[in-house]
Amino acid sequence: MTEINVEVNGLRFEESVPARLLLSDFLRHQLKLTGTHVGCEHGVCGSCTILLEGVAVRSCLMLAVQVDGASIRTVESLASGEDLHPLQEEFRRAHALQCGFCTPGILMASVDFLGRNPNPSRTEITDMLSGQLCRCTGYTPIVDAIEQAAARLQGAE
């Protein structure tokens, strides 16, 4: 077992983990943050995307011991109480989720993306989304939602 010290969604955790524990399993099973989902376990589907030091990463491709000393955000950190994040609100408005399994990963990837590219074109959004799989929606409403959220977040600044 290895001791790690990690900040997750603003809280500090000192945890003891097996060296081979995946970060996704650490978040889901040890910290009980089950909003991060696991869809393929080899970094293709993007359902397990989280923010590590603000950058979108696939938590199924990392080990928990690799985040010692780091800061992580998961989907559970996006809303403030009952108030949804603009991305969450726009996903809802655009019907950008059906079963919702892929949604947390797409939201976290979008937070990182809009941080780097606050005014993206539809093509840029589509390119970013090509790394996130969704089996329900056909993607168009997701592109719409991210486009709308970008406009709102721009306006808020």
């Binding site: 080899h42 589907c45 919702g100 399994f101 089996r135 056909g138």
Partner: protein, 773 residues
Amino acid sequence: MLRVEDPALLTGKADFLDDVDRPGSLDAVFVRSPHAHARIGSIDVEAASVCDGVVAVLTAGELDGPRTLATTIATRPEAKTVERPLLVADKARFQGDAVAVVVARDRYAAEDAAELVEIDWEPLPALTDPIAALQPDAPLIHEELGENNFEHIEFSAGPVDRVFADADHIFRKTFHFGRTHAAPLEGRGMLAEWDSPESLTVWSSTQMPFLVRWLIAGLLELRESAVRVVTPAVGGGFGLKVHLYPEEVVVPIVARMLGRPVKWIEDRPEALATSGHSKEVLMELEAAVSRNGRIHAFRGSFVGDGGAYQGHPWSSLIDPLCAASMLPGQYDLEAVAYEVDAAMTTKCQSTAYRGVGWTASHTAREALVDDIARALELDPLELRRRNMIPDGAPHTSLTNCHYDGGSYASSMQVAADALDYDEFRDRQRRLRAKERYVGVGFSPFIEQGGWAAGIAEAMGFPGYHYTDGVSVSMETDGTVTVSSGFQSNGQGHETTMAQLAADALGVSFEDVRVVQGDTAQTAYATGSYGSRTAVIASGALLLAAGDVRDKLLAVAAGLLEASPSDLELAAGNVFVQGAPARRKTIAEVVAAAYWGPRPDGVDPIPAATRSYEPPETYSNACIAAVVEVDVETGFTKVDRLVVVEDCGTVLNPMIVDGQIAGAFAQGIGAVLHEGLPYNEDGQFLAPTLVEFLYPSATNVPDLEIHHLETPSPVTAGGFKGMGEGGLIGAPAAIVNAIADALSPFGASIDQTPLPPEAILRLIDPPAAQLEQH
């Protein structure tokens, strides 16, 4: 209207199956066959059993309970009974057949131990070609059956032989619709916990909690009501989760043996290799056609590749038999005949996937119709117009499907207009001169909805065991609770049911609570599949809400000293028609219902449970696709997709459009990207999402959706089902668009999928499959 489901899903609060945790729970991992077909010598679990954290390693002989699923209970009486071992003891019949189960304190320990189980294998010949599997000398997959054909079915209607003998032309086409996979992002899984030796709770990622309860209770010899099936949020189903799988019986057996909750969560390679493959049908179609372009008859042979077992309980007939039953499609014919064979091979079993076999036969038929148009030098739309059943009126097909009216020809015209069809043909000619190849494909189709006895029988399946109820209760505070055994796996049933109940009872949408996904808390229903929930749950809900409304009005009539027939219910009030000041709030009326005063003879509880069984109902639509094919690389780009949908009365436009768009993306995947190949040794070649390619955002164009509305004259509310159409109709549109683009090369398409290498084979050498006599 925003969906009620969304906040929990958007914030990570919704619990999917693997998010459910029970104290003391153990994890199960299955040891699977690496061979397609192999006899088992000995199994040595010693090394695995002593691994750190391992609680048990069990093989078939050690399971304390039933040994097999009998997998043909819901099919035709003459069908063979195929037994599927829960764990195989004598031989494996496909790569991935489960041999043993390892249960450990966590998944890591279980997977370590699973690798240490030693099995002596004696490989047998693999059988990957369904046609070869049907030959009399083929090695047998299930020796006790004496052949590899689950069932042979023949059907004909009308003077088939005479029509073919008299025809000016007979056109023939072979078409192999390739294997694909529903592949919901959340795979299968189960958590089982025994509350007592006779009482079991399972958490299951399923589309049919009550059927899981029925099937498990029978196998484990429990009273049905002693099994509670809880279905948390379901991460997509698309038909894959309308089956009971052997793992879902092993898990409760093992939990009982060990006295601990046991959880099994399928991983992605298991999902792709072992859960269920779909839609693979080999077809030979013939059309009897006059020189004026009148299609008089179709004849078809449909050979399904059902894999090693029969999907429980529907069987592998859901692909080839459903395909054959819809052979006439939207055409007005004089005769039709089909033969169906349900071949078994050493591959993963076939299971339901959105549109089942309708996708395969519709694609093959519409590809044939386009071939005929090219051969007769007729416009493909004109050829279809000359043969289509008329708009509006109900029509009974020669396969005895009772279509309840639709916009068959007009939907095609709206699609053509949306594309500016004549202008497209001009542009196509101009681009060809520059060696750019664009094409258009049309796919008008009819889609069954509301799968229940009527539709099942129309498709050649028995019509029993469809009973579907919804309960509606007014709570003491005037809010409404709707409970139903239908199970949303993304379709937003909570929202549509709340919307219907609110409208029917005059309360606000926010004042309706919908309970689903727990057999201990809901009215009985067989589940959500076959585009049935919008039709059947809506029908039952409207009946139950009507009963509740009658009770409320009876109570209100006493309070307002008026006749119930003079009262109206709206915006949270009951009032006298024409005198809206004489009113009571619904909360006041409900309080009077529960606590009085109420008229004599009125039951105090304003609640009702009703069921609804619809007659056959069919939506229709036309899909048009425009593609460009790069003849250097073989890459197909879908430029435009237009759909004109007619599903009768639209319940919730946002959700309807979402269903269309999602099914479309799956249609694009099935034609252009996906594929589940096996090599000749029966080794499965697409075990990860690196090989099995979901369409990604860059593969799916924006969709243009138009609506026509031909309400059903036969269903409650005029609703028709529409959840599968995109995947029934989009493949034909894309196949025809590619063939149209490549018509200068004489291309005729006879298969899916069509990745770039398949497209290049169409271009060089030219492969004309159309025979004309």
